[in-house]
């Protein structure tokens, strides 16, 4: 290869890879600019704090914001302990080449590949009909249904299962990153395995575990399919007042505005503004979690 062709090949590859990278940025910019331009005009304090009115063609989206936030919070509370404990078992306690651990790993990988609508159907069948229906048979007056219907709790639990693989994989990765030397040092100082876990391994793995939480929240807050059958409502006059209430959700609200409106032109600004809020909420959650993670990581690195 001559010098000229080598240079041309190098420049060509630089151009192609750079263009691909730019394309990614460009797509994001186009989406953000379009959403911001279309939604900014309609955005106001009233829009954020009021309920929808006139068949969703006026008013705000506060119930949807509230529902999304509460459901995501419940999901996080449900998924983190189970996910972290599973990862700790897999990485710290399961014997090497254990069949149980192998089976769990296969299950996690398959869980991660299940389409989200299937989780919705699973939630309907398992949580609502089986668990909720069972609770009704035992606890409720005959003929009434308290638990066996779509609710915040069931939607949050369904999403928790959906995000479980994310948390497990991230936590296991974080545990793996803790140097063996630190574990050895702790054990050689007469610490038990559990003391080593709590005092040495967890503090160092915490930033990675929080990363898992971030990814789970980012994934869970935006998913619509799993909650379709398990808890979300088209419109509710009141905010949910317990875990057994149905709720409104930003992602589903976008779907409703986009497909169910009698007057597309009148709804369009509302739709734009709702998408804007959904994006902003997701970004804000991510930013918050990233800042927590950075602070923890800095603290861990500084050794306090």
């Amino acid at each position: 290869m001559s010098v000229a062709t080598r240079k041309a090949a190098g420049a060509g590859l630089f151009a192609v890879t750079g263009a691909a990278a730019l394309l990614v940025v460009a797509m994001l910019v186009v989406i953000l600019v379009d959403v911001a331009r279309g939604g900014a005009a309609r955005l106001s304090w009233e829009f954020l704090s009021a309920a929808p009115e006139e068949g969703m063609m006026a008013g705000g989206i506060f119930p949807a914001i509230y529902g999304t936030a509460v459901m995501t919070l419940m999901m996080t509370v449900a998924v983190m302990p189970v996910g972290v404990l599973t990862a700790v078992y897999l990485h710290e306690y399961a014997p090497a080449r254990s069949r149980v651990a192998g089976a769990v790993r296969v299950a996690i990988n398959n869980l991660a590949g299940v389409p989200s609508i299937v989780f919705g159907l699973f939630g309907l069948g398992f949580f609502i009909q089986f668990v909720g229906g069972g609770l009704d048979r035992v606890l409720s007056e005959p003929g009434t249904v308290t638990y066996g219907k779509p609710a915040l709790l069931w939607a949050a639990l369904t999403l928790a299962i959906l995000t479980l693989p994310v948390v497990i994989v991230a936590t296991e990765e974080a545990l793996r990153a803790v140097p063996r030397e630190h574990r050895d040092a702790s054990l050689a100082l007469g610490a038990t395995k559990s003391q080593t876990l709590v005092r040495v391994v967890f503090p160092q793995a915490l930033p990675g575990i929080l990363t898992g939480a971030i990814l789970a929240v980012a994934r869970g807050a935006g998913e619509v399919a799993p909650i379709l059958f398990t808890g979300v409502a088209y419109f509710l006059p009141e905010l949910p007042n317990s875990a057994w209430s149905q709720f409104m959700h930003l992602g589903y609200h976008v779907y409703v505005l986009a497909t169910q409106s009698p007057d597309v032109e009148a709804t369009r600004p509302l739709l734009y503004a709702t998408v804007f809020v959904l994006l902003a909420l997701t970004f804000a959650l991510n930013l918050l979690a990233i800042s927590i993670r950075t602070r923890t990581r800095r603290k861990a690195a500084a050794g306090h």
Partner: protein, 259 residues
């Protein structure tokens, strides 16, 4: 006038026909070795000869490696370390260890030294502070760090970090200190400090040190054991091993013919 032959020091630890395997592969074969009380025993030999494995057997750190198994006896004060009255946690509080690579926790200097005490259940702040100071003095590090005990241990130099690890091991007042090439990653000045420290420590502790450095073994140890291919080839007073070894293989190794 003849110099009286000194009575042999009592053995603090002793192995009898110790054999350690990783799966099917024996790493240490039939090693019987006495570790005299409050003396320094150096373990020398080429890489992969089993000396580090032997060392890690003495505080049961090998138990952590999947597939590792031990046969034969390991005695501490004439009692088996596998006896039921002594679990691995208790054993490691009596037989401390300093690793090849200094491995301070990403915590403050104080917390590093206090770690073994805290996991052992000591909570009293004054007592902790006292023991931390004593340990850091014992490791000849106190004067260098006394004004920044709250700062991260990771800000110390390599040699200071290794002395911190020694202080950390001393804090729980072990009876035996195992050192796995404690100075191999350090510059000559830091190495000299560690060696001086070993000299001081042997007044109170029984020390076993693995080293690749012949001069270091000669300088710091009272007794030297030469390992080759998992076997204990020869053990004797350090001076004798280096000047007048009985085995040809020992002589070849200490004079640098292989290694």
């Amino acid at each position: 006038m003849t110099t009286p032959v000194p009575a042999p020091a009592p053995a603090k630890m002793e192995t009898r026909s110790l054999e350690i395997r990783y799966g099917e592969k024996p790493a240490v074969k039939d090693v019987s070795l006495r570790l005299p009380d409050r003396q320094v025993t150096a373990l020398i030999g080429p890489s992969g000869c089993g000396k580090s494995t032997f060392l890690r057997a003495l505080n049961r750190m090998n138990d952590l490696i999947p597939g590792a198994s031990a046969d034969g006896e390991i005695l501490l004060d004439d009692k088996s370390i596998y006896a039921s009255h002594l679990d691995a946690v208790e054993l490691r509080r009596r037989v401390g260890m300093v690793f090849q690579k200094s491995n301070p926790f990403p915590k403050s200097i104080f917390e590093n030294v206090a770690y073994g005490l805290k996991v052992g259940g000591l909570k009293d702040r004054a007592a902790l502070a006292d023991r931390v100071e004593r340990s850091l003095r014992g490791a000849a590090l106190w004067d260098e760090v006394k004004d920044r005990l709250g700062e991260s241990a990771l800000g110390l130099s390599g040699g200071q970090q290794q002395r911190l690890c020694i202080a950390r091991a001393l804090a729980i007042e072990p009876e035996v200190v195992l050192m796995d090439e404690p100075a191999s990653a350090l510059d000559p000045i830091a190495t000299a400090k560690i060696e001086d420290l070993i000299h001081e420590l042997k007044a109170r502790y029984t020390i076993v040190i693995v080293t690749h450095n012949m001069q270091q073994a000669a300088r710091v140890s009272d007794q030297t054991a030469f390992f080759y291919m998992g076997e204990l080839v020869e053990v004797g007073p350090t001076e004798q091993i280096f000047t007048n070894p009985r085995q040809q293989r020992t002589e070849d190794y200490v004079t640098g013919k292989f290694g």
